[in-house]
């Protein structure tokens, strides 16, 4: 399915590249440990999201500057340097994230330290390595982070509500059923699979509606109002050349065929 590049939905997808379309987690399966295992509540999701932001942005901005100073024969140090700089920035980040909730760092465990070797960090290198302008790099990294954050929050909310019946640690009185198995890594994978499928379904549905509107040549408002209604019968009859339904009878033979 293709559409005009000036279409509003195409422009929306281009503008939100990395967040909705081309999401690093739902599209490429990056940063799996954080989404599948560590994001067990909204608090941990927020903590991990802050941690990811405070490692990705400084690394993305500092590494190009450092690599300019390093001689050509030591360029292979680019990869470990990223991890080391991220690990350095993780130390103060621990204090910031720990301030959100004292129990947060315990529940995240080793996963917080893993942010410095996250696949997203190395994927951002591949995306920004040829970009010269700093603001473009910053924009690309922000998009990647927003994409990760969106999925982290979705998974965190789903797991906390379904598993503990709470949200941000506060009990939800309307939530009577507990499904604590959702905290297990296996169901984390399954939940992520369903979220990715839902994302694809929404994208395909919106694309279908956009193309349908464009094909029939009506205004968007008219099409949304009439969406779901059947096309008028007279148009169908005009095209097929059959007898109108009011007078049609299954046993009745059309005039043309009778003559034959």
């Amino acid at each position: 399915m293709k559409m005009n590049k000036n279409h509003w939905y195409a422009r929306f997808l281009r503008g939100t590249k990395g967040v909705f379309r081309g999401n690093p987690v739902l599209g490429a399966g990056l940063a799996l440990p954080f989404v599948v295992v560590a994001a067990s509540s909204l608090q941990t999701a927020v903590g991990l999201s802050i941690g990811a932001l405070l490692t990705m942005l400084p690394v993305g901005l500092l590494i190009p500057l450092i690599m300019q100073k390093i001689p050509e024969q030591f360029r292979w140090l680019d990869y470990p340097l990223r991890a080391l700089i991220a690990a350095l920035f993780l130390m103060p980040t621990r204090v910031i994230v720990g301030a959100i909730s004292p129990a947060l760092m315990d529940s995240v465990g080793v996963y917080f330290s893993l942010l410095c070797v996250s696949t997203l960090l190395f994927a951002s290198r591949a995306m920004t390595v040829e970009e010269q302008r700093l603001e473009k790099v910053l924009l690309e990294l922000t998009r990647l982070w927003l994409g990760l954050t969106m999925v982290l929050l979705l998974v965190g909310i789903c797991r906390e509500v379904l598993g503990n019946g709470t949200l941000w640690g506060k009990p939800l009185t309307w939530m009577k059923i507990r499904f604590s198995a959702v905290m297990v890594s296996g169901l984390g994978f399954i939940l992520l699979g369903f979220i990715a499928a839902l994302g694809q379904k929404i994208h395909r549905s919106v694309l279908f509606v956009c193309l349908w509107i464009g094909k029939n040549g009506r205004t968007v408002k008219d099409k949304i109002v009439h969406f779901g209604e059947r096309p008028p019968k007279e148009n169908k009859n005009k095209i097929s050349g059959e007898i109108p339904e009011e007078t049609a009878d299954h046993e009745q033979i059309p005039e043309g065929k009778e003559q034959e």
Binding site: L26, G27, A28, G29, L30, L32, P33, V35, V36, V37, W76, L77, Y79, P80, A83, L84, A87, L88, L90, M91, R94, D106, S107, V108, G109, V110, S113, L114, C116, V117, S118, T119, F122, A123, M183, V184, S185, G186, L187, G188, F189, I190, L191, L192, G193, F194, A196, A197, L198, Q200, K201, R204
Partner: protein
């Protein structure tokens, strides 16, 4: 001793598999999934790195454990071990074994510094049962081989799913994740989901 070594090795290989129970992943999986040979090479490198770094990390962890800032320096110390190992192997191979370097040089950074190697070292540092260097070695060897097998299984799942008729929304990553989740659930049945965080 041998029985204990074997028990830790098998536990790390199956019940505490780094991919299925902890979801540790590596960068460049998509490229690796094009051929199982590349995956085996990558897995072999990862296991070798873990086998060497594991006992070293065990010794260093003994030294720094109990320091006032252990909580903050633990991560960066283990990362420095991996970076040092990577830099040493890279330099040695390039200088003395250029043919081997041509073969593995491309994968070396991704195999040496990733979630699997770093996470395995951090988990072993936290685990009080791994109180001997050979126990740490058994754990890291099992973790490396278990991760390689998981990658091969994932490749096989991908191949099979690509030829099945699935709903358009579920094609690709969603179906893979659901299949991996089902395998992970089967493994969780062995441990009862009581892994340390």
């Amino acid at each position: 001793m041998m029985m204990k070594f074997f028990a830790i090795f098998v536990a790390a290989l199956t019940a505490e598999n780094l991919f299925f129970t902890r979801a540790f992943d590596v960068y460049g999986l998509r490229e690796l999934h094009r051929s199982p040979k590349k995956m085996l090479l990558f897995g072999g490198l990862t296991t070798a790195v873990l086998a060497v770094a594991g006992p070293v990390a065990y010794g260093i962890n003994k030294l720094i454990y109990g320091l006032p800032f252990y909580y903050y320096i633990n991560g960066i110390t283990h990362l420095l071990i991996l970076v040092g190992l990577y830099a040493g192997v890279y330099w040695l191979l390039k200088k003395y074994q250029p043919k081997v370097f041509e073969l593995v040089g491309k994968y070396l950074p991704y195999a040496a510094i990733n979630c699997c190697t770093f996470g395995s070292l951090l988990l072993a540092a936290k685990d009080t049962e791994l109180d001997r260097w050979w126990k740490a070695l058994a754990y890291h060897c099992g973790a490396g081989i278990g991760f390689t097998l998981a990658m091969l299984l994932l490749w096989s799942v991908r191949q099979r799913l690509s030829s099945c008729h699935a709903s358009k929304s579920f094609r690709g990553l969603p179906l893979q994740m659901i299949t991996v989740g089902l395998i992970a659930l089967a493994l969780v049945g062995l441990t009862g989901n009581q892994l340390p965080a």
